[in-house]
Amino acid sequence: MSFRYGVEQERDWNALTDEEFRAIVRAEFEANYPTELRYAPRRLRWHETKDWYLRMAAKGWIAPNWPVEYGGMGLSPAKLLIFHEETERWGIGRYQDHGTLMLGPVLIRWGTEEQRRKYLPDVLACRSIWCQGYSEPGAGSDLASLGTRVVLDGDEFVITGQKIWTTLAQDATHMFLLARTDPGAKKQEGISFLLLDLAQKGVRVRPIRDIAGHEEFCEVFLDEARTHVSNLVGELNRGWTVAKSLLGFERIHIGSPRMPEYGLTVLKRVAEARGVWDDPLFRDKYFALALDVQHLADAYNHFTAIVIRGEPLGQDVSYLKIWATETFQRIADLTVETAGPFAAVKGDVRLNDTTVNVLASFYKARPPTIYGGTNEIQRNILAQQVLGLPRR
């Protein structure tokens, strides 16, 4: 392959032992990630994370999950896990990384060579930032009922509709979206996966404030937004299949024990500051949760081993998402309980000798049971597809 995607890798990471690789990643993060951005209580904005991710891009570390020939680090599943673990361990804030996390894998699997050459180099250099336009006001859990319309006008698709809850669309230059290309077909069958440049007059992005006071998701209004027909990914009306290929990955990602583990460290700090760390009653509650996290990690390791062997994940991975996100909520709730009146203060609060953001856990713990397929939907999947219980 003569076309060069991104920068050359310094070495063959997979030839290293896990320990060697972990040490290299850790050293880079600890030496260079800005301390003040560690464990941010909210999603960081591009202007805050830009310097760091441009550094990652320059190093060739922006896409650890992509193959080397496409400019990624080409990490084996085991090495990739280590990379994610170290990222989370050091509390590195995400940017709007749907370009590397989702678009890359989609284009590598379903895209044309032309699409890959057109889009991947910009993703690798952080010249383009991608957001995910699936949800609509009327189509959340029932995503297949989405109503964004597409008509063909010469060699362009003309897209009209509304996307919502689009994470960090205000930072994005592009969107990959699902839209209805065949209104006559049955639900899933008339949907296509399209790529859209947001810098055009048919697109309006409006940030939505959340209950924690942050603007992390947006409404995106599409009013005859245009995209060239070459921006169709996969076949026409087969977008559902393209989008679905990412789901297993998402569930194992949200099922990681890192978030609840971090919740436990905050809880411990609050307990120490409140003088109850040695209280047997508190310890009983704390270690019940610590075991919930420990057993989450055990289950998580089981699923990651499957990924490492290169085998497909079963539908049972849904329970990982449920257990991880609800355990985090229970940890956040005990943090609020332990904090007493300090949980009536928003942001950083002085708690005896410590300064801690008590409510950050509370707010952070709410959305994960909603996004990535709500926990109710995950329970439906488990009941019907894993336990084999009858449908209504």
Partner: protein, 379 residues
């Protein structure tokens, strides 16, 4: 047995209470735009509305008639608070409209009482009880402020935290003088605002510093042996009234959620038709009802209590349930709404944040369960 109850032992007529409920509901209407506009802004609530509330006589509820009050008792205060909760008002009724006037009316300093009460009842002067220490303990027996005697009064030093409203005109500072407790009226300009701490609902609390602050005898509202029991009883009343406010908040949050379950459609059906969600809604309803009844029982107990331990147990029983139920309803309401429940634009979020705040202040569910256990062990 110690005499404790601090509201006059008058039970208002049922008709009076029904009228009151109606008039509070009429004045205290939910207005999301107004609530959002007042957030994170000084003084965090609307003084014009405060005066209007005063003109309705609400602040006179815990004040005896001989002091120009209505002496309507805690049932009436609970009704006001519940309705204010339903409307999600940021105005600090429980602290400044109930606890403050109640404490002031009980002052043994007649001159101070006569001087201050009329303006408090008219809404001109806003009071804030400053009773909690910086470490956040819920017992008034260990305030963060110390008082040492001085020629014509006392000198106060120390800190008081979680004071609501943050920007009051007069703080009712609870202090320890080595022997017992005292309460002094301190002007805003005389204390140091160490920090205003923002609340999740956009209402901040004051962290006050008292630096060798001289308080003349004329500003001493009460001192001596009886103060500890009197302040504890007043706080217990306030906890019960605050539980009623939480009841109002959780009722509206659950109503909004039930409305949403009826109207939001996914998979070709209202989401409220999915059995999993129906069962969840029923569980929340049960918590709401338990909170309502626990609070009602505590209100009646407070109206009749002559024993301070009975009163404390009743208050803790109500708050333990109300705080637990309200937080559960708040968090589950978000879940049942999906993403829209996490937005600030949708009104549910205002209720969630107000609940988070009230559930944590004046003792949260766990703290009140512990206090209930302690009070139960003694009997």
């Amino acid at each position: 047995m110690s005499a404790a109850a601090s509201t006059p032992h008058v039970s208002a007529e049922p008709e009076t209470l029904a009228l009151l409920r109606h008039s509070v509901a009429g004045l205290a209407r939910f207005d999301g735009q107004r609530i959002r506009a007042w957030r994170d802004r000084s003084p965090g609530f609307d003084r014009a509305l405060w005066r209007e509330m005063a003109s309705q006589g609400w602040f006179a509820i815990p004040v005896p008639e001989t002091e120009g009050g209505l002496a309507l008792g805690i049932e009436a205060a609970a009704i006001v608070a519940e309705q204010l909760g339903r409307a999600c008002l940021p105005e600090p009724y429980v602290m400044a409209g109930f606890l403050g006037p109640m404490l002031l009316a009980q002052s043994t300093n007649e001159a101070a009482r006569r001087e201050l009460l009329p303006d408090v009842l008219s809404g001109e002067t806003v009071l804030a009880p400053a009773w909690q220490s910086a470490d956040g303990g819920i017992s008034p027996s260990t305030p963060g402020v110390f008082a040492r005697p001085d020629a014509d009064g006392f000198v106060l030093s120390g800190e008081s935290r979680f004071v609501v409203p943050a920007e009051a005109d007069i703080y009712l500072a609870l202090a320890h003088d080595g022997d017992g407790l005292l309460v002094a009226a301190v002007e805003r300009r005389d204390v140091r605002m160490l920090r205003q701490e923002p609340g999740p609902d956009g209402v901040s609390t004051a962290w006050l510093g008292f630096q060798d602050l001289r308080v003349p005898k004329s500003r001493l509202l009460m001192s001596g042996e009886a103060v500890a029991a009197r302040v504890q009883a007043a706080l217990d009343h306030a906890v019960i009234v605050q539980s009623a406010e939480l009841c109002g908040l959780m009722q509206r949050a659950l109503e909004m959620t039930l409305d949403y379950l009826r109207t939001r459609r996914q998979f070709g059906a209202p989401i409220g038709s999915f059995q999993a969600l129906q069962h969840r809604a029923v569980d929340l309803f049960i918590q709401q009802e338990l909170a309502r009844h626990a609070t009602g029982t505590a209100v009646r107990a407070a109206a009749n209590a002559t024993d301070c331990r009975v009163l404390s147990r009743a208050a803790s029983s109500a708050k333990a349930r109300a705080a637990h139920a309200a937080l559960l309803i708040a968090t589950q309401s978000i879940q049942l709404h999906g993403a829209i429940g996490f937005t600030d634009e949708y009104d549910l979020g205002l209720y969630v944040n107000r609940i988070v705040r009230l559930a944590a202040s004046f003792g949260n569910a766990a703290e009140h369960r512990r206090r209930f256990a302690a009070a139960s062990a003694e009997t």
